[in-house]
Amino acid sequence: MNVVEISGVSKRFGSTTAVEGIELEIGEREFVSLIGPSGCGKSTLLRIIGDLIEPSGGKVVVNRKTARQARKDRDYGIVFQDPVLYDWRTVAKNVALPLEIARWPRQKRKVRVQKMLELVELTGFENHRPWQLSGGMQQRVSIARALSFDPALLLMDEPFGALDEMTRERLNMELLRIWAASGSTVVFVTHSISEAVFLSTQVVVMSPRPGRISEVVPIDLKQPRTATTREEPRFFELVTQVREALHLGHDLERAAPVITQQAEA
């Protein structure tokens, strides 16, 4: 069964078309990365899936429901590039926030928060304030918060874009472990080709102006991925394939700028 089914989706902001003619199916327990240069609409597409913005046209079905209904049923866990933690709450209280909104009883909440902090290896930091943690740790809190209520779909918008390379690779490994343990489906927006290939079961390559899907690259690297996955010849082949798809999309656009791996402003 598909968790996400997108057909003919477009989004216009005023006179500019952000995305157009999007067709995409995401199966259960998939890890799908959206990759493309700035302005290709990958964040827009993520927000449309999560019902944070409404598409101008087309249809989005999530768990056989409309995106709106899926949001109301709390099917989405969202992680942004910035952790967006509430600095007036402790780490534990931040993770508990969605559970409070969903009116979980206190005791159940407490047990769940403990379990989530264990999952992201932050046991012992319950009573710290977010600003007392490093960027990587803050992002792990944000992931724990997103997963706390067991959403069917985890939407991640360049979650590691603001972190250094070392932290990013470590968190990639952790994310894969969490993904395997939680059994959720992940949609992951990134600028980084190697990150997309390493993490995903499918890489969706997008091209800009207007944003559309230019190619879907299935990633057949064996699971579970390990540190040595990045050294396999197949990994390099896939990285090359994604890179070429990106450039092809670009050349068709006749747009000059080179794809950077830097975070969007």
């Binding site: 944070l52 910035d82 600095d87 007036w88 007392q132 490093s134 740790m137």
Partner: protein, 298 residues
């Protein structure tokens, strides 16, 4: 920035004491400097016989030690009855009651109005100019009217001082309203998106996100309002002939200023002390209530 939590140094006790001592020391230095400025200015102007901007003598600028001595002296010229400080503190307590009630009414009302206006943008656009205009009304003119209007409707226990509290509230609510609106709208856009993704209703978004995000703004306003409420209570007392507060003492001593300048100065000192205490109470409340990242404190 990226401090590992586990390595966060626990502040040693001696460090805390050292910083407190430094703060007290600074305050004493500032007070001493102000004292020196006052007395130095006085001495220089008298010495040189300068008359600009005003003639300096015991009437215009009494010695500071004379002002404080006057506080300890008997209030009435005959040397009988209570000390001046006893009379003034009694008056200050009465004024404090008015100011505190006015502050409470103004802060709560101002906050409620802010929440309302932040939620209904149309109302905000229509009403905010009038609220701003309300603050340009000369309070000294309105105060006696408020007393006349409100007094007949107030129960005996609230008579007079209740009306003054309303005047104080009028000066209190405005900064709170403006900063509440600003603060409620300061919540991070993505934090709001997260709330949306949790399917949180407006009410829960208000209490769990917008209100905590607004707290530093609200406290910034409360600090202004705390002193404004004291000023409001004093001004409310002046034209409404309420005998128990500091306002009556101000009128009294200003009538005798040429013969007894120290009395008015002493009243000034007590009024200032009242304003400062109000400010400090809000400051302490803020330290207890607002727990934000250092960069998010207004």
């Amino acid at each position: 920035m990226a401090t590992m939590a586990a390595e966060l140094p626990v502040e040693p006790r001696t460090e805390v004491i050292r910083r407190a001592a430094a703060r007290v020391g600074t305050s004493i230095l500032v007070l001493a400097a102000l004292w020196g400025l006052w007395e130095g200015y006085r001495w220089l102007w008298i010495q040189e016989g300068w008359t600009w901007p005003f003639i300096v003598n015991d009437t215009t600028m009494p010695h500071l030690h004379d002002i404080f001595a006057a506080l300890w002296a008997k209030a009435s010229p005959g040397g009988v009855g209570p000390r001046l400080i006893t009379v003034l503190v009694k008056g200050a307590l009465f004024t404090a009651k008015e100011a505190a009630a006015g502050f409470a009414i103004g802060a709560l009302g101002g906050f409620a109005l802010g929440v309302l206006l932040a939620h209904f943008r149309l109302l905000q656009r229509g009403l905010l100019p009038w609220i701003v205009a309300s603050q340009t009304v000369p309070i000294l003119v309105v105060a006696p009217m408020v007393v006349v209007w409100a007094n007949p409707k107030l129960p005996d226990s609230l008579k007079d001082w209740g009306a003054v509290a309303l005047i104080a509230a009028f000066l209190t609510f405005f900064p709170v309203t403006v900063n509440t609106i600003r603060g409620l709208q300061s919540a991070d856009r993505r934090a709001l998106e997260l709330m949306r993704s949790y399917a949180a209703g407006d009410w829960r978004i208000l209490w769990k996100l917008r209100f905590p995000a607004a707290l530093p703004y609200i406290f910034a306003a409360l600090k202004i309002s705390a002193t404004a409420s004291v000023v409001g209570a004093l001004i409310g007392e002046l034209p409404s002939s309420i005998p128990n507060g500091l306002g009556a003492q101000i009128i009294n001593f200003s009538q005798y200023y040429t013969t007894q300048p120290r009395g008015l100065w002493a009243t000034n000192v007590i009024a200032a002390a009242l304003g400062i205490s109000f400010f400090l109470i809000v400051l302490i409340a803020e330290k207890l209530v607002v727990r934000r990242a250092p960069e998010n404190l207004v």
